[in-house]
């Protein structure tokens, strides 16, 4: 699996408000990339566009050399991109196990196989003991974990995690793209950091370099007051 994702000059505006402007970057295989930026910077919009939930006004998304912008979310999932939602969306009426089975069905042809895969994934993320519980009864951290498990079950080549706090071990997939405000986690896990602000990429690089860039400091800490 030596594939890559290229985001090329993506722009998106909603009724005059420019959410993303000419965003370009590349994700290298077998890496964790963090996408950070203040609230409203356009992170979730970008995720939505990559995952197919929204279409860009212009630009292209290229996965393994094929353009995927404009495809439906379910098609993009089958091509290998999985995502979680910032506002978790469990299938409330189903059990924890059944939630993950839905994910597993996208890569398993038989229901029995899918259940086995789901069991394994749940054990891996630590939700095993709760597999028969109604997902509506889970606590929020467990729901986030469920969201992750579901996405992992689809056997993705690329996993987009939207505001998932806590430890992540990317044993199941090659690359991760995070939206993460927790700088500590970012620094510890990410190889590359991309900073979004007002819909534009204002910095890219290793965590160590990013924190020294003036533009990044300005956007997070605000510009210095002139007294």
């Amino acid at each position: 699996m030596s594939a890559s994702l290229a985001v090329q000059q993506i722009s998106k505006s909603f009724r005059g408000l420019q959410a993303l402007a000419d965003v370009s970057f590349e994700i290298q295989p077998s890496t964790i990339t963090a996408l950070i930026g203040p609230n409203g910077a356009g992170k979730t919009t970008l995720f939505n566009i990559i995952a197919g939930a929204q279409t860009p006004d212009c630009g292209a998304i290229v996965l393994d050399g094929c353009r995927i912008d404009g495809l439906r979310p379910d098609q993009i999932c089958r091509l290998g991109i999985a995502r979680t939602f910032q506002m978790v969306k469990p299938f409330a009426g189903l059990t924890v196990l059944d939630n993950v089975v839905i994910g597993a069905l996208s890569c398993c042809s038989r229901v029995k196989e899918a259940r086995q895969r789901a069991d394994a994934i749940l054990d891996m993320v630590g939700l095993g003991p709760k597999r028969s519980r109604a997902s509506a009864l889970l606590t929020l951290p467990d729901r986030k974990l469920l969201e992750l498990a579901r996405a992992l079950a689809t056997r993705p080549k690329l996993l987009l995690l939207d505001e998932v706090l806590g430890g992540l071990r990317p044993t199941e997939c090659d690359r991760l793209v995070l939206i993460e405000h927790v700088m500590r986690v970012v620094m510890a896990l990410a190889r590359t950091v991309i900073v979004l602000h007002h819909g534009e990429v204002i910095a890219q690089g290793t965590p160590a370099n990013i924190v020294r860039e003036q533009a990044v400091l300005d956007c997070y800490l605000g510009e210095p007051l002139s007294v």
């Binding site: 995952a51 089958r78 939602f85 299938f91 069905l105 229901v111």
Partner: protein, 323 residues
């Protein structure tokens, strides 16, 4: 499924199997009605409970199914079991067309319901003028001497129809149970809970919703065929009328939409209540039409108001059928 539940189902089925041997003809006809609505309700349940589409015009498929088979039988002497395939295909395609239009143009929820009503009404008025199948005067099927049973042509005594609908209702239950545990069942429930999340997990919601719609319509077409041959007459005013659509949905709503046994429990309750009310009113001396519908309305009101999930979920919990 838990053992208790299976035992209960088998027990009830066994009881129903022997019914014509010990019950009065009136009871048999009542049971036939109950099983008919259990079957039709199960069919509707697939579209609403699993695909989440509120159809208030299911009478459309009842009528089209009935008329297709009846017309082929009456005009071309094509046996009903052959004509059925045409009816299934026709209704499946019709439902697919309506649903595709609705999905494409984002007609959902209440507006979809209105669309289905309009389609059924359109058919009702249309068939009123469709003279080849009798128009508003109705279509009548040749009745044969009583006692002679001809399953192939669906002519025979009431008991034959009873067993037929019993078999159909049982098959529908089995089919629904199997579907629920299959990929289709999982996907339908996922779509119903959160279409967005389902899409992100690779579910093509359009395709699966269409499947639910077509299965639901085809099953209802079969009910139409049964109705046509059981009563031996068809009238657009009756078959396509909105009252039929409402009768079909009553069972599942009262019993529990989206559940396996809901439509059956609901249909049973309604049959018992409605008949009980009619008997009571007749005993008091009031032979008035409309009592049955009043009972339907009140029960529906009560259930939607106080037990929106339907009777079955609460009942199942009480009986501890599922942990």
């Amino acid at each position: 499924m838990k053992r208790r539940a299976i035992l209960l189902v088998v027990g009830v089925f066994g009881l129903l199997l022997t019914l014509p041997l010990w019950a009065s003809p009136y009871t048999v006809s009542l049971a036939t009605l109950f099983l008919f609505f259990a079957y039709a309700g199960q069919a509707w349940n697939i579209m609403m409970g699993f695909a989440g589409l509120l159809s208030l015009g299911h009478a459309l498929y009842l009528g089209v199914g009935a008329y297709t088979v009846a017309a082929l039988y009456d005009h071309f002497s094509i046996g009903p079991w052959l004509g059925l395939w045409v009816a299934l295909a026709l209704c499946g395609l019709l439902a697919a067309a309506i649903a595709a239009l609705a999905f494409r143009y984002r007609v959902a929820g209440v507006y979809f319901a209105l669309l289905t009503i309009a389609c059924a009404e359109f058919a009702r008025i249309g068939f009123d003028h469709f003279t080849w199948v009798g128009g508003s005067g109705g279509l009548f099927l040749k009745v044969v001497e009583p006692g002679r049973m001809d399953l192939l042509n669906l002519r025979g005594p009431p008991a034959m129809f009873y067993y037929l609908i019993l078999f159909l209702a049982g098959a529908a239950l089995l089919l629904t149970a199997l579907l629920l545990r299959s990929r289709a069942g999982y996907y339908w429930q996922a779509i119903r809970e959160s279409e967005e999340a389902a899409a992100a997990l690779g579910v093509n919601s359009f395709r699966w919703k269409m499947l639910a719609v077509m299965i639901s319509a085809a099953m209802t077409a079969l009910a139409g065929m049964f109705s046509a041959f059981y009563y031996s007459n068809l009238f657009p005013e009756q078959l396509f009328h909105i009252s039929r659509s409402i009768e079909i949905i009553l069972g599942p709503i009262i019993g529990g939409v989206g559940t396996l046994f809901g439509p059956i429990i609901g249909a049973a309750l309604l049959t018992v209540l409605a008949d009980g009310a009619t008997e009571f009113v007749a005993a008091v001396g009031w032979d008035v039409p409309g009592v049955k519908q009043l009972v339907y309305g009140i029960v529906l009101f009560a259930i939607v108001g106080f037990l929106p999930e339907g009777i079955w979920p609460a009942l199942a919990r009480k009986l501890k059928l599922f942990q």
